[in-house]
Symmetry: C2
C-alpha cells in the first residue's frame, strides 16, 4: 500500500501568502466598490524594462527559425548568462567565481526549497524568527523540523529577531548544522553589515555548518557598508551557498529567473556540494527557457542596468513614503532603507492578524501579518514598496485616517 | 557538522545523457571534419510553430506595459491554460477533469523527479527495465532505491521489458506501492493498448498502489487502440497520476512547459494526493513564466493544432525512415510507429556501449546505448526521430555502410 510523506500532514494551515490572498479576495468580492491596494505579497508592478523586452522579442524570433532554434539547454544555464552573472554581480565586487559555480534556475523559491535535497534529514537547522516561510515549510516537509507544537517546530533552532536586538539573529548557543540567513531581510527589511556577518562565517567554519544565504534583495542596498554578497566576506566560499533572483532586481516575478552559487570550496567531509547540486539539477530540472535566459542577460547590458536601477530607485522612493507616513502617525517602523520591505509595529500591542484585518476592512489596504512569518513576528505587519507611487501614497493617506 | 544526503554518493557515474553528450563532444572535437548527426538525446529540431511565436510576441508586449504586466501567477498555472488542457486534451476524449486537477510546470522531468516529495521513503517502487533514468535516479536520491549492486538497485522492483514479452512489463509478483509506467515508451518506443493497461489499473486498485504514468509522447500515437491518457481506462483516476509535456508535442524542449494531472479521486488512506502536490508546488515552485504559458495555450488554437501536428507527422516520417533503413540491413527494430523512438537490437550480440562507440566513431552518428536505460537495455541502442529529414536520411546512409 502506498505511503504518503506524513510530514506534509504536520504542516499547519496553508501557505501564508495564499491565506492572505484569499482574505483580500474575499474582502474585494464583498466590497467591489472599494478597490484594495495590495502592499502584501512582494510582487512588483513596474513592467519589464525595454532592454529586457527587446531581448525577448529577439529570442522569440530565434525560436522561429530552424537555424537559430534552441532545444534543450544546459540544465545549469547557458554560458552567456552564467558568465554575465560572474562578471557583473561578482567580479565587479572583487569576488572571483567560476561559471560552473553558478546554477541558473526558475526561482530563488525553488532553489531555497529544493536545496534540502542534498542534505541529510539528520541536520539541525537554524532559522531566523520571523522568517520567509519557505525555509521552514520545506524543512518540515523533509522531516527535518520535527513536530509543530505551540507555533514552533520541535527540531528547528529559532533565532528571534526583535526590536531589542535590531532584528539581528544571535549566534546559536547550541551546535547547528544548517543556518538560513536572508539579508536584506524578508520580512523585517533590515540589512546586515560585514561586521554583523563576520561572526556567522566564523561560527560556520568552527562548527562545520553551512550557511544558506538569501540575497534576493541585494539590489535595494543603499548603505555602502552593507555587502551585496556573502562572498564579500573572507572565507565565506568555504561555508555558504548564495541565492539570488531577478524577481525584485529586474521585475521578473512573472518571468522567472534566478540563480544559486555553490562554490567549489564548499565541502562537507571532502564532498563538494557543487557536485551534489549539479547532480540534483541535472536529474530533476531541465533548465530555464532560452528566451528567459536572454531576458536575464539583457539586465546586465548598459541599458538594462540603467533601466532596472531606475525601477529599484522608484520602489525605494515608495519605501521612503511608507516609512515617513507610518512614522508620522506614531508607529515604530523598521526596514525600507536597504530593502523593499517595511516592518511596522502594531499600535497598542494589537495582534498582527487583528491589525491586518483592521487595515484591510477599514482602509482596503492589504498587508502581511507578522505572525505569519513566525512567532516573533507577532505584533508586526509587513508592507511592501512594490505598488505604484500613486497607490503607495493613496494607501498611506487611508492608513493615516485609520489611527 | 553538516551531513549531506549520502544517497547521492551511491549514484553510479553521471547522468546518462550527459555522458553521451560528452562522448559526442569529444569525438566532434577530435574530428572537426566529420559533423556528428545526433540521434541520441530526444531533442527536437523543428522551430516553434508560427501560432506559438505570435502568442509569445504578444505576451512579451503585455509584459512591457504596466496595465498588462504580469507578476507572480498562480503556482499551479493560469486558468486560461489549465482550462485549455482540460478541454482539448481530456474532455475531447471523454475524460472529465477539473481545472484544479491540472498542475502546470516547467517540465515533465521536474515533475517526475519532484513527485517523490509527497511519498514516504518507505515505499516499494517498481520500474520498467529499460527505463527513463530520472525515475530511478530520483528514487535513489530519496533513499527509496537501496544500494546499487551489480547494476541493480537493491530495493527497486525491476520489470524487464524484452523482445520476448513485446517490451511490455509483467505485473509484479510481489506487492509494490508505486509503479512507474511510460507509454508510448521511452526508450523502447512501444505503446500500450487499453487491454494491456487494464490489468495495471486492477493491480493498483487491489494493492492500493499508485501508478505514475508518463504520457509525454502521446502526440505520436497513430494506432486508434492506444489510449492517449491513462484516464481513458475506467477507475484510473483512483490510482494514477499522469505526466504530460509540450516538449515533444510542440517542440518546447527549450521553451519549458509541461503539466501533471492529480485527480481528486486519488487518495491514500483518505488523503488526497492532489492536496499534497498542491502544497508541494505552492511551497517549492513559483509557476511557469506568463509568456511561456501563453505559448502553451497557443498550441491548442486551431492554427497551433494544425501546425504542431504537421511537425509530429514530420518526425513520424523520420521514424519510418529509420525503421526501414535498419530493417533493410538486418537489424531487429522496435518502436517508431506510435513514438519518436526506435529501439534497435545490436548485431551479433554486441554490447550497447560498444555499438554506440562503433556507430559514433565510424559513422559520426550519435545514438544512446540501451544499457544506459537499465540492465535489460543491454544489447540495444535507441535512435530518435527528431533530426531533420535530411540528417535522418544521411545518418541512415552512413549506418547502412557500417554493416
Amino acid at each position: 500500500m502506498t505511503k504518503i510523506n506524513d510530514n506534509y500532514l504536520k504542516l499547519p494551515g496553508s501557505y501564508l501568502f495564499s491565506t492572505v490572498a484569499k482574505k483580500i479576495s474575499a474582502f474585494q468580492e464583498a466590497n467591489p466598490d472599494k478597490p484594495v491596494i495590495k502592499m502584501s505579497i512582494g510582487d512588483v508592478t513596474r513592467p519589464l524594462v525595454p532592454a529586457v523586452i527587446d531581448a525577448m522579442h529577439k529570442a522569440v524570433d530565434e525560436m522561429a527559425a530552424a537555424e537559430t532554434f534552441r532545444g534543450y539547454g544546459p540544465e545549469q544555464g547557458y554560458d552567456f548568462l552564467r558568465n554575465a552573472i560572474v562578471k557583473y554581480d561578482y567580479a565587479s565586487r572583487g569576488i572571483e567565481l567560476e561559471a560552473d559555480e553558478v546554477f541558473v534556475s526558475d526561482g530563488a523559491k525553488s532553489d531555497c526549497g529544493n536545496i534540502g535535497d542534498i542534505f541529510s534529514v539528520d541536520n539541525k537547522v537554524a532559522v531566523c524568527d520571523p522568517v520567509y516561510p519557505v525555509y521552514v515549510d520545506t524543512n518540515a516537509m523533509a522531516g527535518r523540523a520535527g513536530d509543530y507544537i505551540d507555533e514552533h517546530w520541535s527540531n528547528l533552532y529559532y533565532m528571534p529577531c526583535l526590536a531589542e536586538n535590531g532584528f539581528m539573529p544571535q549566534l546559536p548557543t547550541e551546535k547547528v548544522d544548517i543556518i538560513y540567513l536572508c539579508f536584506p531581510n524578508n520580512p523585517t527589511g533590515v540589512a546586515a553589515t560585514k561586521e554583523q556577518l563576520k561572526p556567522w562565517i566564523d561560527y560556520a567554519r568552527e562548527n562545520k555548518a553551512v550557511i544558506l544565504y538569501d540575497s534576493a534583495y541585494e539590489a535595494f542596498i543603499t548603505n555602502p557598508d552593507v555587502p551585496h554578497s556573502i562572498y564579500e566576506l573572507e572565507g565565506a566560499k568555504e561555508v555558504a551557498i548564495e541565492f539570488r533572483s531577478f524577481s525584485k532586481t529586474a521585475g521578473f516575478t512573472g518571468t522567472r529567473c534566478a540563480y544559486t552559487i555553490v562554490p567549489h570550496e564548499l565541502k562537507v567531509n571532502g564532498t563538494e556540494l557543487n557536485g551534489l547540486w549539479n547532480r540534483r539539477q541535472c536529474t530533476k530540472f531541465n533548465g530555464v527557457p532560452y528566451i528567459i535566459q536572454r531576458a536575464a542577460e539583457a539586465v546586465y547590458s548598459p541599458e538594462g542596468q540603467k533601466q532596472t536601477k531606475e525601477n529599484v530607485a522608484y520602489y525605494l522612493n515608495n519605501a521612503s513614503i511608507i516609512r515617513n507616513a507610518l512614522t508620522d502617525i506614531g508607529l515604530e517602523v523598521y526596514g525600507g532603507e536597504n530593502a523593499p520591505y517595511i516592518w511596522a509595529k502594531t499600535p497598542d500591542n494589537m495582534g498582527s492578524w487583528e491589525f491586518f484585518d483592521k487595515i484591510l476592512n477599514e482602509t482596503a489596504v492589504g498587508t502581511t501579518p507578522g505572525a505569519g512569518f513566525g512567532p516573533s513576528g507577532e505584533g508586526y505587519v509587513r508592507l511592501t514598496a512594490f505598488s505604484s507611487k500613486e497607490n503607495t501614497e493613496a494607501a498611506m493617506e487611508r492608513i493615516k485616517k485609520l489611527l
